[in-house]
Subunit: 155 residues, 4 copies
């Protein structure tokens, strides 16, 4: 079973939502389980896309209960752990696709890189070193299909 996390801000642009929905659908059609933070924005769009395609979506929630959870989750897992749940999301994933930027999203990108989990990005924030050069690691995708292809590469 391949599991891919889709991470992104809880409030996002229509373009980001569209990309996340496409990513969720493509992952589901490829047979991958989608793991996400379970709330709105990019998370909800990825869940909706995967659900429409008949896939399985696990939402790992920061809260103590299901309040605010996307209706498209197959399973909602309240952790009651706050943002420490970001570490759980990425640890559960074979690869992480990041859509858009926010501090919570960036923490997931960084935790994934720290743990050796491949990260694919669709837009969003970038990390540069003191000289302004991109820090190597995350791979930028050209679009949703490219992102899913890169995330599933070799699996």
């Amino acid at each position: 079973m391949v599991q891919v996390a889709v991470c992104g801000p809880g409030e996002c642009s229509p373009e980001e939502a569209e990309a996340a929905r496409a990513v969720g659908g493509l992952l589901a059609r490829a047979g991958a389980v989608v793991v996400c933070g379970g709330y709105g924005g990019v998370m909800a769009a990825a869940a909706a896309g995967a659900r429409e395609a008949g896939g399985t979506v696990v939402g790992v929630l920061s809260g103590r209960d299901r309040a605010g959870a996307s209706p498209d989750l197959t399973v909602a897992l309240p952790t009651g752990m706050g943002e420490a749940r970001n570490a759980v999301i990425v640890r559960a994933a074979d690869a992480v696709i990041v859509v858009g930027g926010s501090w919570g999203t960036l923490s997931e990108l960084a935790l994934a890189m720290r743990g050796g989990t491949p990260v694919v990005t669709l837009g969003g924030w970038r990390v540069v070193d003191a000289s302004g050069a991109p820090v190597p690691g995350p791979v930028a995708a050209a679009g949703p299909a490219d992102a899913v292809r890169l995330a599933l590469r070799g699996r």
Copy 2:
């Protein structure tokens, strides 16, 4: 979506395994998602029972990867958090069914009671106060069907 955690030792008696398998199957047939620790013994038996009945089983693993995970999980979520993942298992559950006794299992029972999640027990250890009287809270079931009935009561 109703989610019920089935908790018990990673090494168990044939009777406990049989009970856990029955519980898993009954939960799946009732439409409940089974959440468990994802490894052997009671966890594996509950997963097998649910999977046989066509249900969904989420294993919340203590380890950093899927090593040792039951083959019957729908989704395996490595947390890398060690025993702190026990808190995640019970927080994700609407009710907890305990089969058999071990210290890890007892920690899940206690965390569930602490968090206000109903606990149903099938055998296993018991908690008594200084006078030897049972501490109220966990409800003893007469068998797997009774355990599932009690766990789903009112849902």
Copy 3:
């Protein structure tokens, strides 16, 4: 550096508070750091006892901030992780002294036993197997001095 966790209910009897205060003081005088949950009842009494004796007390809080923390902590560590922080308290300890009984307290006792950390009890709840026999592991102390002696034995 020896670190001993003192665990007990956030609301306790005067006798339990007195015992916890004595335990905290004796640990501090023995040069041990006291780790606790950082709130009221047994936790606050242990912190007060250690502080009076010039010791160091670390409170590992379940909340996102210091609200409700005992004023006698040397360091208050909000974790925002809810009851998952109980796993942190016992993992940080070389030994655990339990004073009194509650579900949260029992989860700490069980997590400590699960992780191989010695547990000493002063009153509180007991764990028995199906036959009513005590489950071996936790060691009952005769009083605060005995509890501290047992917790520091061999260190």
Copy 4:
């Protein structure tokens, strides 16, 4: 009690170590408790600086025991939670000072920003948006004294 986290890579340059040591010393002299990840590099240098100045240093370790912990910690707290402990470090801090760059360090910066904790940076990686503009939030300091001044501003 003011608590400031000092975050940075476990392997660092001599210049970063020197800066971290200065930061640790200045925090201790200002009466702040230093919280860090407890291992080598920037963490160890900050701990050493604080210890030399008579301060209190709490190391929140990712491992299950004290293996690899800096000898300069006042208290070493093994969490056994892996990188999820990064969330604990920043939640425990009133402000975070980042020295140098690594993925683990960036996850702490991002988790702090996500949780509303002020972040001050001394060198290290930077976060830019799609247009290349710096994402506002973290404040760049001119040197160790400036970093400590900014972190303690208003406290």
